[in-house]
């Protein structure tokens, strides 16, 4: 019985994740085939630039590399229109902010992907369906 219950809970969790995955892409004008939506990666860096533009925002992060420099990672988010109605503003992320980004990586191995959420040093968590 306990095993069955565990399985049921697991199945529900998987279902919840799947629904989230489906609901995320629903707000975009393109498919998500460029991103591996079954994989999530996390990376720590510093905000280099935010493009608060349609049809999607783009967030650039400097991520320190072994050579002592930084690699630029780029992340696609929702649209400004969508986000501004869900607590984001164009200054929510500022250049220089330290951020931990969770994302679906590019299928082609490029540095970056689809932004899922970001955690700022202040503890504030930013998601694509609501700023807090």
């Amino acid at each position: 019985m306990k095993t069955n219950l565990t399985r049921t809970i697991l199945a529900m969790l998987v279902a919840a994740i799947l629904i989230t995955a489906v609901a995320g892409p629903a707000a975009a004008h393109h498919s998500f085939s460029a991103f591996n939506t079954t994989e999530e990666k996390t990376i720590v860096g510093t905000v280099k630039k935010v493009e608060w533009t349609n049809p999607h925002i783009w967030i650039y992060i400097d991520v320190p590399n072994e050579k002592g420099g930084a690699d630029i990672y780029s992340f696609e988010g929702m649209s400004p229109n969508y986000l501004e109605r869900r607590d984001w503003t164009r200054t929510t992320l500022k250049v220089g902010d330290k951020i931990t980004v969770t994302f679906n990586p590019m299928r082609d191995g490029g540095k970056g992907g689809m932004f899922r959420n970001g955690k700022l040093d202040s503890g504030k968590i930013l998601t694509m369906s609501g700023g807090q």
């Binding site: 629904i19 085939s33 460029a34 280099k48 630039k49 049809p55 109605r85 869900r86 590019m106």
Partner: protein, 291 residues
């Protein structure tokens, strides 16, 4: 002389095509407007909204999502609809659930599903047109003026023009993304007939329509901040029976329509073989250009 004759023919067809004169509204016309239901303001599929001042700005609060009847809308995707979120992935097409396609169009749908493109022309910023444009996850605003209803659609910065001045639908319309629309009021319900749709628009993902497609929409308020849209699509070549769905919009009194210039910074796209392409570099800016 021959060229004068051709010119004369050309001019007469222009005047025929433009024969619907928009007359200046009278005081009585404006007064009559006040008796129509209040469609003013900004509406979006899904939950949230309502209430006027002080209403929460969040349109997609999951708890409220069930209010939106998105799952039943023409372009609702299974998962997205369940959250009252509007549906539509790329392309703005529905999945064809509930539609009864003729064998010819069912074969088209199957052929598409057997080898679906990674992405659709929407990735290149081509708007979906009707019926998909009415089911985007972005708001729209209704403007009622004498003789006309205008729907300002945020997604792809689109506008629908619905003439309510009694003019007739054209017999041989040019195909357009939104077709050509006329409307009339049946009590408190705005009834809109549209014909003549561009071949780029789709009944559902991968399902084209014929040039005989017609769309009938019935807009009415079901409570002060909820609008019901019943959409009936007929297409004797593509559908074996009329296809009717009902969706609902919620009014967000503290929202305004924003702009959505899809070409502003679109890094996504699809090539002519249906392969998805993406360029994450901002190539105009050397500071973020990668090797």
């Amino acid at each position: 002389m021959a060229s004068a004759g051709i010119l004369s023919v050309a001019f007469s067809s222009i005047s025929a095509a433009q024969s619907n004169i928009t007359k200046s509204p009278t005081t009585a016309d404006w007064t009559a407007m006040s008796r129509l239901p209040d469609f003013s303001g900004v509406w979006e599929r899904g939950g949230g909204g309502g209430g006027g001042a002080g209403a929460a700005p969040r349109g997609n609060a999951p708890a409220a999502g069930a209010r939106g009847n998105a799952g039943a809308a023409p372009a609702a995707g299974a998962g997205a609809g369940a959250q009252g979120r509007g549906l539509v992935g790329a392309g703005g097409g529905a999945r064809g659930g509930g539609m009864s396609l003729t064998p010819e169009y069912e074969a088209k749908r199957r052929a598409y599903q057997a080898n679906p493109p990674q992405d659709t022309a929407a990735a290149n910023c081509l708007p979906p047109g009707m019926p998909g444009i009415m089911t985007q996850p972005y708001p729209m605003e209704f403007l009622l003026t004498p003789g006309k209803v205008t729907i300002v659609i945020e997604a792809y910065t689109q506008v629908r023009h619905i003439y309510t001045d009694g003019r007739k639908l054209p017999e041989d319309p040019d195909p357009r993304f939104f077709g050509t629309s006329v409307g009339h009021w049946e009590g408190d319900t705005l009834v809109v007939d549209s014909v003549g749709f561009a071949p780029e628009t789709q009944l559902a993902a991968g399902v084209p329509h014929s040039d005989k497609m017609k769309i009938l929409e019935r807009f009415r308020l079901t409570d002060p901040d909820t609008m019901s849209i019943e959409t009936t699509i007929t297409d004797p070549e593509a559908l074996t029976a009329p296809y009717t769905t009902t969706s609902s919009l919620r009014r967000h009194r503290n929202w305004t329509i924003s702009e959505y210039i899809c070409e502003q910074n679109n890094r996504n796209g699809v090539d002519d073989k249906g392969k998805s392409i993406i360029n994450p570099n901002f190539t105009n800016d050397s500071s973020t250009k990668k090797d």
